[in-house]
Symmetry: C2
Subunit: 231 residues, 2 copies
DNA sequence: TCAAAAGTGTTCGGGCTACACCCATGC
DNA sequence: GCATGGGTGTAGCCCGAACACTTTTGA
């Protein structure tokens, strides 16, 4: 809100830049990963950070997140979920920066990140082996991960991270990765099948022992499960 | 985050003012209420809105929320919980405003709001009988209420809204108000007593039928319950 | 004495957890 | 053929929901 204070207030707050940082989660080779970029310029030149950028005058924060991911690392059309906004005056060493974070879930095989702009590198990192991050991005990342866990406990979100076809064990691995705990196979199967948006393709995956059944999620039913049943 | 784009980027985003709006919940006469203020100036002069104001250059968003509530409506030292950040370019009719919302829980009897600054009025409103709100504040308020409900389902937050002494029925009324549903008295008593931070003062409330026992919450145990057991 | 609210225990069902054996496949 | 993982069912426990009667107090 604001009132007649406009001028005083605008001059005060003009010093702050509003940026968006994105915590992009991917799942590959059985491990949960995060998309990080390496800065080519000061401050924190050479350090790994979350991909992000400043809000444009004609864009919302979410649109800014989409644009930044497209421009900097070449990934498009992600579903971004807002996490939090950070405003400590000294969180950026040079000037005042207020940052809103979003998380996104992607299939890494669909998106090959490539560093552009002021970046020297863009790569997936295992959540268990993160490099030191510049700014306060480690905190931002951890907060986003916690929020993801919260959301995952109430909704079948994780399918956005999986390829079209997957086995039940692959889903389970994914859940175990995100939640950071191991789950009982039988109980997990029962629960996930109860969602009833999984389709048994009838195919069995070859090249892997046991010959597990290959499933696919029904997009319409999955969407219904994601939107309808609030908790 | 941002890099060599600084100048371009800063000029773009300098147009946006960052403000904080607060959704202050109170509980009085058995009903959940929200603190609203009436604007004395354009835009939306004469309309009810959430109390809020622009972020100061040397303050965090949360500190701004505290200051705004102190300056505009004379309430201090609330615990503010961040809800979300809104950034639609046209959400303010005059210029670009990005707003972060917080909610707070207070005991109305401890805080007598008084309009100051650019406000003509400050008053508690029943959540069930809200006036039309200026800007997009109705959406902000509803989102904050939903977040409060979510938090309340996992933590015994509501005691911040109650006087020092209260009966079990009063707590139950409060929960029913916030959640918008009625609860079984016996189940509710059992659950709330299981938290084990309630102290039976031994006193019985007079002037009310049934002679209900008066309870008090142990500050230390309550604080532990609020912070320790994450879900 | 009557009306209204306080106080109290038990039962039922559903969901989660724990757990062991046989089958299919790759090597 | 053997090692690895896939596939299946059941029993116990805990939590939450439903539910009725007696006691206390104000009017």
């Amino acid at each position: 809100m604001d009132g007649p204070l406009s001028t005083r207030v605008t001059s005060q707050s003009a010093a702050a830049t509003h940026t968006v940082d994105c915590v992009v989660f991917g799942f590959a080779e059985g491990e949960l990963r995060v998309l990080l970029v390496r800065r080519a310029v000061a401050p924190f030149a050479g350090e790994w950070v979350l991909p992000g950028g400043a809000m444009a005058a004609d864009q919302t924060l979410e649109e800014t997140g989409q644009r930044v991911l497209r421009e900097l690392v070449g990934v498009s059309n992600l579903q971004l979920t807002q996490v939090a906004t950070y405003s400590a005056p000294d969180r950026h060493p040079v000037r005042r920066v207020v940052t809103t974070t979003y998380y996104a879930l992607v299939r890494p095989e669909h998106h090959t990140p490539a560093a552009r702009g002021y970046l020297s590198e863009a790569a997936w990192h295992r959540l268990t082996e993160l490099p030191p991050l510049g700014f306060d991005h480690r905190e931002l990342l951890d907060d986003a991960h916690l929020r993801l866990i919260q959301h995952l406990r109430t909704r079948p979100l994780a399918f956005a991270l999986l390829p079209d076809d997957f086995t039940l064990s692959e889903i389970q691995q994914l859940y175990e990765e995100i939640l950071g705990e191991s789950l009982d196979r039988r109980n997990f199967r029962r629960k996930v099948l109860a969602y009833d948006f999984l389709i048994d393709t009838g195919v069995k995956r070859s090249g892997v022992k046991g010959g597990p059944a290959v499933y696919r999620s029904d997009p319409a039913l999955l969407h219904r499960a994601l939107t309808a049943p609030h908790i």
